[in-house]
């Protein structure tokens, strides 16, 4: 199974429209939860769905600009890097997952799902 995944790097997970504008969806079926975000400009980002602060589900946060605010204690995370912004800069990171948009479909790095 591992070899198949490695050979076929991009995995089609959903349509862009399946993620609400300025919102997120969680993929819980992998070995670790992944949050996929869609910004107001229709850009997509994916992070491991754990806030570096206290592991809050970032997929439940409010998406604004290219960042998300964690629902548990309000840490602001840069969607492009997974790094905290503002006063919390430098305090850990939610690992980035490779993601891309192709013909209205959202594709993620399949390997990330099985790490």
């Amino acid at each position: 199974m591992t070899s198949i995944v490695l050979d076929r790097r991009w995995l089609d997970v959903c349509a862009l429209e399946d993620i609400p504008l300025r919102g997120a969806r969680r993929i819980a079926s992998g070995s670790r939860p992944i949050a996929i975000f869609r910004t107001g400009l229709d850009e997509i980002h994916a992070l491991v769905d754990r806030c570096p602060h206290k592991r809050g589900p970032l997929s439940m946060g409010i998406v604004h600009g290219a960042s998300v605010t964690c629902p548990l204690h309000g840490m602001k995370i840069d969607l492009a890097t997974g790094q905290p912004l503002g006063a919390d800069a430098g305090k850990g990171c939610a690992p980035r997952i490779d993601i891309r948009l192709e013909a209205g479909r959202v594709l993620i790095d399949a390997a990330a799902l099985h790490e």
Partner: protein, 823 residues
């Protein structure tokens, strides 16, 4: 000591501040020179007229403002004819004639007749209830109207006096509106920026302002004032109408006596009129073409006159003016040429966090004028520098921060301690932020506002007690850069608008979506942040019920998924139990749900509900479906909305119960559930004053008594502990429900997002709320109607919709196909 016969006869017409001060100044210089007689038209001793506003506001009593009591007249051998108006002066025979056949001869005569309030010649100006704001009788008339049952007051004139009158009336429980002809309040004293802040500060104190408003007619009913009609057709109902549109020097007596008068009684630099034996001072006098209506020039005139009358060369050369508004908590100071002009430069300081605006006008290295709003402690200092014509070139850098900062930086004041703090000193205890962190951030990121310092460093972002310290650091570090932002504290760093302005503009410009608000109000971020988006979403829901489409992505997760997120990312589920009542069927259904979904914890809450903790997000719709099947709906334990109505068993069971508190609690909960509010709302109903339901620490509480229902408001028992205040009393359940719903609607319409009821109450004032939901039945009904309309559209169980399949993707997430490849 001279005998009475040796003394010259000095007669003073006017027992006000000018007349008495002149006498005091003369007595100070030469107590034996004159045999003094004072005529006063008002039947009382001399009082401090500029303190009438605090008397109106209930902050001082008449006794507090008496300047010279009867003993003063007696001790100084002054004859006082109070309540006797002077009818004529004969300058030939040196005689003053007064009502009651009184005649007094004089060697020297002082006119201190003051001024009259201008009454606009509007149709209806003679109606009962139309008054001016000039003496203690006017104040008594206003107080009597307010005490007769609140009601509404309209004040024509947005100058110093008009605003103080309106504030006093609002403080006495009336809904006060100021109607002002110009576009800026107090335009003779402040500039447009301060005028705008002033209008906002007054609004927060229950005074509405209508600018650019032309009055047309005073409408009466049964000979009494009923409303003011404006030229644009607007009708402002009122129970009292105060005209505060200015004063006119009272110079009739002088004119009739043949003295030279223009606007006032013309005097020279020794305060002498065209008759060498007659002098004039105060508001009735016209000196070098200028009439004054403030107290400081009057004191200057009194000194000059006393010099003249005691044989010293005295000269009055005119006064520089400064003004202070006497409205509690609204500091306004103005002096000199505050608007600047050619050859002048401005130093402007704005502190949005504290609602402070300062503008110092400099001309050729000297202060030419100043306007201070929000922090006017340094007004006297600027005024002194201005009067003395001091060269302020060396003070320039810190001038705008006031005397303490300026002198502190020069090592003259220990408050410079802030500057001396070590970089490692902790400034914000909540977030553990040191001074060095703050100053570094200010410098490296060019921060200029408190909000930006909070956003970047978190200093003072929690409890806020270190705010003044952080501000001082910001001032010291950022220096002149610290000028941006205007208005009171903004909603968040995405905008400079405060909550109130945002709410007002949403209505004014009929903004009906979040992007529309952000565009029209010039948001500085593309789609806001986690602070402003939920606030805007709420404001739009409240402003446009039925028209605005709720934006789930601008909701905090709890309100988006209708459950309360826990630290591990699971949720808690609290079904509604009306008034805290439940049944075997409900309890059985809850027990079944707990077993079926292996819910790890079940807890009884403080609000008399049952909390199911540790439910996975994807399980929520199924859990709700089972609870729905047993007749239970969402308890909104996660929302800025009605949470619970806690009750005791009341007269149904309790031997002390006076009313059916449980039944009323259930009715209240059925009336209020589902309504979105600025922050959570908790209620309780106790069946007797023993208060077992703890109603006196809730947002709204009802304490039943034999004769009816005591309605409470503004309690808190969380971060802050606060007992309720009494909102009013109702005789029936229906009336109780109407009042609580109306008060809830007022809170919905006026509360700032996340501002609990008690904080809103502190901000707008309990009296304002009482005036609008208790005293003004019409307004109460209108509020109730708006609430009922909004409820028609919001009382749908959010659980039922989602149990039936709504938002399924939200709850189920995405199931990635494990092996299916895209390429």
């Amino acid at each position: 000591m001279k005998t009475q016969a040796d003394k010259q006869r000095l007669v003073v017409i006017g027992n006000g501040m000018a007349g008495c001060r002149a006498v005091e100044e003369i007595l100070k210089r030469d107590p034996d020179r004159y045999d003094i007689t004072i005529f006063g038209a008002e039947p009382r001793v001399n009082y401090n007229r500029i303190m009438l506003s605090p008397v109106l506001a209930g902050e001082k009593s008449f006794e507090d403002i008496v300047l010279n009591d009867e003993a003063w007249y007696r001790d100084n051998d002054i004859t006082l004819h109070s309540g006797s108006a002077v009818t004529a002066i004969d300058p030939v025979s040196h005689t003053v004639f007064a009502e009651g056949g009184i005649a007094e001869l004089y060697d020297r005569l002082i006119l201190a007749t003051g001024s009259d309030a201008i009454r606009l010649p509007l149709p209806g100006a003679d109606l009962k209830g139309v008054i001016t704001f000039r003496d203690i009788d006017d104040v008594e008339a206003m107080v009597a109207t307010a005490e007769a049952g609140g009601g509404r007051a309209v004040v024509i004139g947005g100058g110093l006096l008009g605003l103080e009158a309106a504030y006093g009336l609002a403080k006495r429980g009336m809904a006060a509106t100021v109607v002002h002809l110009m576009d800026v309040l107090m335009e003779r004293q402040v500039d447009a920026s301060a005028g705008h802040l002033l209008a906002e500060a007054l609004k927060a104190r229950g005074v509405e302002t209508i600018l650019g408003a032309n009055s047309e007619e005073i409408v009466g009913k049964d000979g009494k004032v009923a409303a003011l009609r404006l030229k644009d057709g607007r009708i402002l109902p009122c129970d009292i109408l105060v005209m505060a549109v200015g004063i006119r020097p009272s110079s009739r007596l002088a004119q009739a006596a043949g003295l030279e008068t223009k606007r006032g009684v013309v005097v020279d630099d020794s305060m002498r009129t065209s008759d060498p034996a007659i002098f004039a001072i105060g508001e009735c006098a016209e000196h070098r073409g200028q009439c004054y209506g403030l107290v400081a020039p009057i004191w200057d005139m009194c000194r000059a006159l006393a010099d003249t009358l005691t044989g010293v060369d005295g000269a009055y050369v005119g006064s520089m003016l400064s003004t202070r508004l006497k409205v509690s908590g609204v500091d306004v100071f103005s002096a000199g040429r505050f608007s600047g002009g050619d050859g002048c430069e401005d130093i402007v300081f704005r502190d949005a966090g504290r609602g402070v605006y300062k503008r110092i006008v400099i001309e050729q290295g000297r202060i030419a004028g100043a306007v201070l709003f929000g922090d006017a402690v340094d007004g006297g200092w600027y005024f002194d520098l201005m009067k003395s014509g001091a060269d302020i070139t060396d003070l320039r850098e810190t001038l705008v921060f006031g005397q303490a900062a300026t002198e502190g930086l020069r090592g003259l004041d220990p408050s410079a301690a802030v500057a001396a703090l070590a970089d490692a000193a902790e400034v914000c205890g909540c977030n553990g932020v040191c001074k060095g962190t703050i100053t570094t951030a200010i410098v490296s990121q060019k921060l200029s506002t408190l909000e930006s310092v909070r956003a970047v460093t978190k200093a003072s972002a929690s409890c806020g007690t270190c705010t003044p310290l952080v501000e001082k650091l910001l001032k010291l570090t950022a220096g002149d850069a610290f000028v941006e932002q205007k208005g009171p504290k903004p909603v968040c760093s995405c905008t400079h608008h405060p909550h109130q302005t945002v709410r007002d503009l949403i209505l004014e410009h009929r903004l009906q979506s979040i992007p529309a608000v952000m565009q029209a109000l010039e948001w500085t971020t593309p789609d806001g942040c986690a602070s402003c988006r939920p606030a805007l979403n709420y404001y739009l829901i409240c402003a446009w019920p039925g028209l605005y489409r709720d934006d789930a992505q601008s909701r905090f997760v709890n309100e988006r998924v209708h459950a309360n997120i826990q630290k591990d990312g699971t949720y808690s589920v609290v079904p509604r139990m009306w008034g805290g009542m439940t049944s075997a069927r409900e309890l059985r259904a809850i027990a079944d749900v707990v077993d079926k979904f292996a819910i790890p914890a079940v807890k009884v809450t403080g609000g008399q509900r049952i909390d199911l903790l540790g439910v996975e997000k994807h399980q929520l719709p199924a859990v709700w479906a089972d609870l729905n099947a047993a007749g239970m709906v969402s308890g909104h334990a996660y929302a800025k909305a009605l949470r619970t109505v806690k009750t005791c068993v009341g007269s149904e069971w309790c031997r002390f119960g006076t009313q059916d508190s449980t039944g009323l609690g259930v009715k209240l909960e059925k009336l209020l559930w589902g309504s979105w509010t600025p922050a959570k709302v908790k209620l309780a109903v106790s069946g007797c004053p023993r208060n077992c339901a703890e109603a006196t620490c809730k947002d709204f509480g009802v304490v039943c008594v034999d004769s009816g229902y005591e309605i409470h408001i503004g309690g808190a028992a969380g971060l802050h502990i606060k007992g309720t205040e009494i909102l009013g009393k109702a005789g029936t359940e229906d009336e109780t429900m109407e009042i609580i719903a109306a008060a809830t609607q007022l809170y919905r319409e006026e509360g700032h997002y996340l501002e609990r009821v008690y904080k809103w109450m502190d901000r707008v004032g309990l009296k304002t709320i009482i005036a609008r939901v208790i005293d003004d039945i019409e307004q109460r009904r209108a509020l109730y109607a708006r609430f009922a309309h909004s409820q028609l559209l919001s009382q749908d169980d959010p659980w039922a919709e989602r149990a039936a399949g709504a938002d399924a993707a939200e709850f189920q997430g995405i199931h990635a196909p494990m092996l299916q490849a895209a390429e």
